[in-house]
Every structure is written in structure tokens, then in C-alpha cells.
């Protein structure tokens, strides 16, 4: 039983959404997705999956506030406390196990409702061993990982700056990317250093938005369209929750990708994958993730980045949408924005930033302080 993407919808992405509450934001994305798929959610949908974490929303049980706006009232509806791509994996399993023919997956970010973002991330840290140490913003945790990564893989500042330059410039062609900018490597290198060796510009600022996918089995897909986009493979993996056993080298993405590639029957990703949308909520993470997805070899990624190999017109475009550096940190919707871009590209709906492609990969990480992540392979 193959799984297809029947429709996609999104709302945003903006730095702030003062006119819509979280329900209305989800609603806007959902209505567009149902229209795109050509279905009536009250009749056709078998299961609804939301990806949310309580403290990103400010509730104790966010699941309560989900069904109405997605058309899921009195239907099988649940929350997966993870990124959107974990939701895609859940839908994939529900369809494969015959529990549902059509599944809706939703994730959103209402980061503008959070007044103390740093405090919330800090609240994810182990309270006994880590949370109370020092007074700095928990971004330091990513900076430590960066410190280890750059020394281990001999990455220089210019190579990391190149990621920022590529993504922010790509974002200029994406009307739903609020952080697009015309910047150069010099601009980046001259910008303030806040978590040495990390610069402020290398950290993706937060933004609001919602993404909704309608997934279905191949029979439903065949009825709706002649050229569906398929979910070829999904993978998710966790290294550990303890900093002492973490690889700090994106092993989670490597293993998740391995699982997804296996399901998608991809044996040589660097050749078979046409483009990728990877998590770049910190600029160095993009390099790490490209390597983990086996799109380049270790020690090579930095120089390939400088050569324009991953540019929009390069051999293997990465983050054509602008990535998180251009679109913003969408919390649990991060993977949603990635998957959305992959599907839009595969359907030829990416407008000015359209590239030629048949197979695309979306990847997301669970953010500080975790070592978990997920990968999905889409193809036509």
C-alpha cells in the first residue's frame, strides 16, 4: 500500500500573527489543504494528527484545542508530541495498517505568543544536571555542538557564512519567507558574535505559521489525481536524551535517513536525491544535516557549499525555500515547511524558485536540547 500526498495547505509564514489565534491559524491552513485535495473533511477524513508540544502553546493539554478547526470533531484525532514529519510518519503507519484511508497531518507555530522563548527552551533541559548551570540563553547548547563540529570536521567561518548567504538570498524569491535578505559573506563575518563561535545571524529567529497535509492510500490518490506526489519513505530516530551519550554530530539524522532511504529503496542518495530541505535553525546544522543525509561526504560539505554545489542552480539544491534562516524557526512546523517546499517543487508550483526534480528529501531536528530527528522522502 503506497501513501500519497493528496493536498497541502499553509498559512504564513510571518513574524507575528496578531489577527488570528492558534485555532484560526490552523483553520486557514486546513481549509486550503482540503480545497487542494478536493475533499470534504467532515465526510472523507478518517484520522487527524496534530504535532504540538504543550509549552510551545502555553497549555497543559493542547490536544483539547485541536479537533474543531481541522474538521476532526468526533473523529480519530490525536497529538504526536513531535515535529510535523513525525506526524507524516504516523499517518504513513495508520494508512499502512489499514486504520485509515485518508489522514490529515497538521503542525503550526504560534511562537509570537511566547514571551519568554529562552525560558521555554531552558525548561526542556534536564532539571537536575543541566538546566541551572549559568545564566546564558540555551542557544549555548547548540554553540557547544557547533564548537565540536567545526573542530572535528575542519569547517571554517566562511563556509558557515555561506550557508547564511545562500538561504537568506534564496528566501528573497519566496513570498512567505519573512527573513529573506541580500547579504554577503563579508556582512555575515562582520556581524556580532554572540555565542562564540556562533554569530547572531546564524540563528534562525522565530516565526508563525501552520502547515496541513492530506495523505491518502494509493487507491484514493488514483481517484483524485493522475500525478500524485508519493511519500516514498519516512524515518525517525533518537540518539539519546543525555548530553554525555550524544554524538553532537547529527547521528539521529543519519539513522533516520537510513530508515527512510530503505523504505524508499534509495541506495545512493547523493545521486538519487535531486534536492533537499534540511533543518538549518542554526547555520552549521545545515552542513551537519547534509552530511547525515549522505548527500555529500564528510570533510567535503564545507567546500562544496562554497563552490555553490548546494545553491538553487547547483548540482544538488538545498533549502531553496530559504530554509529556517529565511523562513524562520517554525517550532514543530519546521518539518512541515520543509515538506511543503518539497511537495510544491515536485508539483511544479514553486513559482520563481522552481527547480527540475523528481525526488526530494525533507529533514527536521527536534531542536535544543535533543538528539532526535526525522526524514521523509517524497517523489513523483
Amino acid at each position: 500500500m503506497r501513501v500519497a500526498v493528496l493536498g497541502v495547505g499553509y498559512s504564513g509564514f510571518n513574524t507575528n500573527t496578531p489577527d488570528l489565534n492558534w485555532k484560526e491559524l490552523m483553520l486557514e491552513a486546513a481549509v486550503r489543504a482540503y480545497e487542494d485535495a478536493g475533499i470534504n473533511p467532515r465526510k472523507d477524513v478518517d484520522s487527524v494528527v496534530t504535532c504540538a508540544e504543550d509549552f510551545w502553546e502555553g497549555f497543559a493539554i493542547f490536544d483539547e484545542f485541536v479537533p474543531d478547526q481541522l474538521g476532526g470533531v468526533l473523529k480519530p484525532t490525536c497529538t504526536v508530541c513531535s515535529d510535523f514529519l513525525y506526524g507524516v510518519a504516523t499517518a504513513y503507519m495508520q494508512i499502512k495498517s489499514g486504520l485509515a484511508d485518508i489522514v490529515v497531518v497538521e503542525a503550526h507555530s504560534k511562537a509570537s505568543d511566547i514571551l519568554t522563548f529562552g525560558e521555554v527552551i531552558k525548561f526542556a533541559m534536564d532539571p537536575v544536571w543541566l538546566r541551572d548551570i549559568g545564566n546564558a540563553h540555551p542557544y549555548y547548547f547548540a554553540a557547544l555542538e557547533m564548537s565540536q563540529y567545526v573542530s572535528e570536521c575542519c569547517i571554517n567561518e566562511e563556509q558557515i557564512a555561506e550557508v547564511v548567504v545562500k538561504n537568506k538570498n534564496n528566501a528573497l524569491l519566496n513570498s512567505s519567507a519573512p527573513y529573506g535578505a541580500k547579504v554577503t559573506v563579508e556582512d555575515v563575518l562582520n556581524s556580532p558574535m554572540v555565542f562564540d563561535p556562533m554569530r547572531k545571524i546564524e540563528i534562525a529567529p522565530v516565526s508563525d505559521g501552520a502547515v496541513v497535509f492530506v495523505l491518502g492510500n494509493e487507491f484514493v490518490a488514483r481517484e483524485i489525481t493522475d500525478t500524485p506526489v508519493w511519500v516514498k519513505g519516512v524515518g525517525w530516530w533518537s540518539e539519546t536524551s543525555n548530553y554525555d551519550t550524544m554524538s553532537f554530530n547529527a547521528m539521529y539524522a543519519y539513522k533516520a535517513a537510513k530508515m527512510a532511504y530503505k523504505l524508499a529503496k534509495i541506495t545512493n542518495p547523493a545521486k538519487e536525491v535531486d534536492f533537499a530541505e534540511v533543518d538549518d535553525r542554526f547555520a552549521f546544522k545545515e552542513l551537519q544535516h547534509i552530511e547525515a543525509l549522505q548527500l555529500s561526504r564528510k570533510y567535503e560539505t564545507g567546500s562544496l557549499m562554497q563552490e555553490g554545489y548546494f545553491a538553487r542552480d547547483g548540482e544538488l539544491p538545498v533549502n531553496v525555500s530559504g530554509g529556517n534562516l529565511g523562513v524562520g524557526n517554525l517550532l514543530e512546523a519546521t518539518g512541515g515547511q520543509k515538506a511543503l517546499e518539497v511537495v510544491l517543487q515536485l508539483r511544479g508550483l514553486a513559482g520563481k524558485r522552481q527547480i527540475e526534480a523528481e525526488t526530494g528529501v525533507a529533514q527536521a531536528w527536534r531542536y535544543i536540547p535533543t538528539a532526535s530527528g526525522t526524514v521523509a522522502v517524497f517523489g513523483v
Binding site: 502555553g58 470533531v73 468526533l74 495508520q94
Partner: protein
């Protein structure tokens, strides 16, 4: 215009493989435990692995069920609990439907195996409510709508009291009849080694206990606890290697009702009815009252067991108190309900109540419940949980015949 898809009928429930349960374990439920959430999870998993005679390396994927982050006091608590739940270096996912998580996590485990993505899936549920202060109940302040409800300073118990009162009013049920559930479950729990509040009490004790939010009194309520539970779900070819008598998951169902709980009549849990409909259809059960031998309905409050029995179709609307009074739901009755002692007797560490719902049902059907084993012969059973703002019903049907 929205085009309507013509549905292909008969496709539903065509799974890749069947799903069996081969091991379960749980920790003691206590008001406050010293172990961290990770350590509690580890203790429960260790028991389950021991029962199934498996090693951690045999586990392919892990599902975690845990309720609000506000209890343990950790944002992204699933990620924190990961290593103690055996999630290190494997696919691990946390699912969440509020209080219904205890039975929802096995449903998620079911689709991990039934889809063929995993042959061995470990399901772990954990809750450490004692971390939350000033009181574990304080965390429930944040389940309410921040703008429409929270300014009224609500307590969680309110919503139950409102539902209980409506239920009593519509069916003209006396508190005495409801209190019988508390008496039964707390007595059943005397045989449970993990129980926090097992005791012999009388209906008068319940009716004279301290008022919390009338009609709810102290002894109508299950206590907040710390604890964890684990369950191992496997594909048929694995089950065969481990045991001659696995317990099969034959039906799963879940449903989430509207957020606007004040917009519907609370006397009947239609969310449970919908979930049960799905699970029974899958398990080919047409007359639940006759075909179900043992039930573990969710009982955080005594009236809830009755309410849920009606939602599960084990009793007609308004009939559950009569069955209870007649002893039908006793451990030696015709339809034993909560033979474990339930949440009222064993304790209520929200998601970890999987230990007295899904795990207990497995033990009953595998004839491993020891002193708690029901008197009658059992083939098929149902367990259920409820959650969110009177919204979620989660139902699992198990059978010891495939």
C-alpha cells in the same frame, strides 16, 4: 467547489500483520517516588522485558505515552524520558491525548506493528505528578482555555462534578449507587501489589468524606500518583517464538469530541461510544454486553466507570449503576469491571494508568493476574481511557483467540 471522493469500501482494517502482546510491567504507584521519570520508565520496561524474556536489543521501536509536560515539569518531556524508556538509538515517538494516553499509547504501538514498520514495539507510559507544585492539581489550571475559562479560577474537579451531576440528574441516579464503584475498586486493589489507596471502605464512608466540588467528594476521586508501565507488542512470527498463548489486539478505536464541551449534553460520553464503535467493528463485535468477558473502563472518578460502561455499550444508558448494585461488575460477576482495582484503588498517574488498564487486561486474558484473576473464563476483553476536556475516548479490544 469541493469535489467529494468516492470512498473505496472494504479497504479498512486490511493490515500488514496481526499484533500480539507478549509482556507487560509496571512500577508501584505512590504519591511521591524518589526515582526520576526516566528511572521509573526503566523499572517498568525492565519488568516487561523480563516477562517476555527479551533483551532491550530485541526492541525495534518505542512509543512513549505521557500526559501534560506540566506534571513532570519538562518541556518536550518525551525527549527527556527517552533513554529510560529504551528509546536510545532507535525510532522513538511520543503520542498524547491527555488522560486518554494510557490506552492510546498501545493504539500507537498497534499501528507501529500492524503497518509492518516494526515487528517488536515497546510501549511505555510514565507520569511523575509529584514534581508539580503547589499541588499536582495546579497543573490542570492550564488545561482550560486561557481567555474564556481560566479567569474564573477553575479547578479540574469542576468539570467532573458538572458531568457527574448531569449524569445523575438525567438518569435519576443516587450518589449511593455511584459510591459502590469506589467501594468495589478500592477493595479490588487490595490484591494489587502496586496499589496506593487499596482499602476496605463502605458506601457511607464515601458519602461522608470531605466535599471537594459537590457532588464529588474525596473518596469519589482517584489519587494523584507517580508511576510507569510498559507493554511489548509484537508481530505474529515473533509472538510464536515467545509464547504459546499470546494475547491479540483485535480492535482499536479513538475519537476526539469538540473543544466546546459546554455546548453538548454531558450525560453521555459520545466520544467513548464513537471510539468503541470503531474498535468493535474492527474486532467484529456486534453485541459487546455478550461478547466482552472482562472490562477495564477508565475510572478516575467513581461515576466515570459507570459513564464509560454505557459509552462502551456494556450497559444501556442509565443501567450501569444497576449492574454494579447487582454485583455483575464484581470480580466474580458476569462482567467484571476494573478487576485490577482501577485508578480509584491503585492510583492515577495519568498516562501510566496503562498499567491498570491495558496491562491488566493483557494479564487477565493471559491468565496471569494471580490473585486478581476474574472467576469466569475469559476470551475477549476491552480497556478504555478518557481524556482532555471530556473529549477523548480511547478503546482497545484484546482477545486470547486470534
Amino acid at each position: 467547489m469541493v469535489m467529494e471522493v468516492e470512498r473505496i469500501s472494504g479497504l479498512k482494517f486490511h493490515k500488514k500483520q496481526d499484533v500480539a502482546i507478549v509482556g507487560a510491567g509496571m512500577t508501584t504507584f505512590k504519591r511521591r517516588l524518589n526515582e526520576t521519570g526516566k528511572e521509573l520508565s526503566y523499572l517498568a520496561v525492565k519488568q516487561a522485558l523480563e516477562e517476555a524474556e527479551m533483551e532491550l536489543s530485541d526492541i525495534e521501536m518505542v512509543v512513549m505515552g505521557s500526559a501534560p509536560d506540566a506534571f513532570d515539569g519538562l518541556h518536550m518531556k518525551g525527549e527527556y524520558l527517552l533513554d529510560g524508556s529504551g528509546g536510545s538509538d532507535r525510532p522513538y515517538m511520543r503520542v498524547f491525548v491527555g488522560g486518554g494516553t494510557g490506552v492510546f499509547a498501545p493504539i500507537a504501538g498497534y499501528w507501529h506493528v500492524a503497518s509492518g514498520l516494526a515487528d517488536v514495539c515497546l510501549v511505555v507510559c510514565e507520569e511523575k505528578m509529584s514534581s508539580s507544585h503547589p499541588h499536582p492539581q495546579s497543573a490542570f489550571k492550564y488545561i482550560w482555555d486561557p481567555i474564556l475559562d481560566r479567569p474564573l479560577n477553575p479547578n479540574l474537579i469542576w468539570i467532573f462534578a458538572l458531568e457527574m451531576n448531569r449524569y445523575m440528574h438525567v438518569h435519576n441516579i443516587k450518589h449511593e449507587d455511584i459510591a459502590l464503584v469506589s467501594v468495589k475498586n478500592k477493595a479490588n486493589a487490595l490484591d494489587h501489589p502496586c496499589a496506593q489507596l487499596a482499602e476496605k471502605i463502605t458506601v457511607e464512608d464515601v458519602l461522608n468524606s470531605e466535599p471537594m466540588a459537590l457532588p464529588v467528594r474525596r473518596l469519589d476521586v482517584s489519587p494523584p500518583s507517580d508511576g510507569a508501565a510498559a507493554l511489548i507488542m509484537v508481530a505474529p512470527h515473533i509472538a510464536r517464538q515467545i509464547t504459546d498463548n499470546p494475547v491479540w489486539v483485535t480492535g482499536v478505536g479513538w475519537a476526539l469530541d469538540t473543544t466546546m464541551w459546554t455546548n453538548r449534553d454531558l450525560y453521555f460520553p459520545r466520544y467513548v461510544a464513537e471510539a468503541a464503535k470503531m474498535a468493535y467493528k474492527m474486532a467484529h463485535i456486534t453485541d459487546p454486553r455478550k461478547e466482552i468477558d472482562v472490562a477495564e473502563p477508565y475510572d478516575p472518578f467513581d461515576y466515570k466507570e459507570l459513564h464509560h460502561m454505557e459509552g462502551l455499550g456494556l450497559a444501556k444508558k442509565g443501567e450501569a449503576p444497576i449492574l454494579t448494585r447487582e454485583g455483575v461488575t464484581a470480580r466474580d460477576g458476569d462482567l467484571p469491571c476494573s478487576p485490577s482495582g482501577g485508578l480509584l484503588g491503585v492510583g492515577n498517574p495519568i498516562a501510566a494508568t496503562m498499567g491498570v488498564k491495558a496491562c491488566e487486561l493483557y494479564w487477565q486474558l493471559a491468565y496471569r493476574a494471580g490473585k486478581r484473576q476474574v472467576a469466569k473464563e475469559v476470551t475477549t476483553g476491552v480497556c478504555q481511557a478518557w481524556g482532555d476536556l471530556m473529549q477523548v475516548g480511547t478503546v482497545v479490544v484484546m482477545s486470547n483467540k486470534r
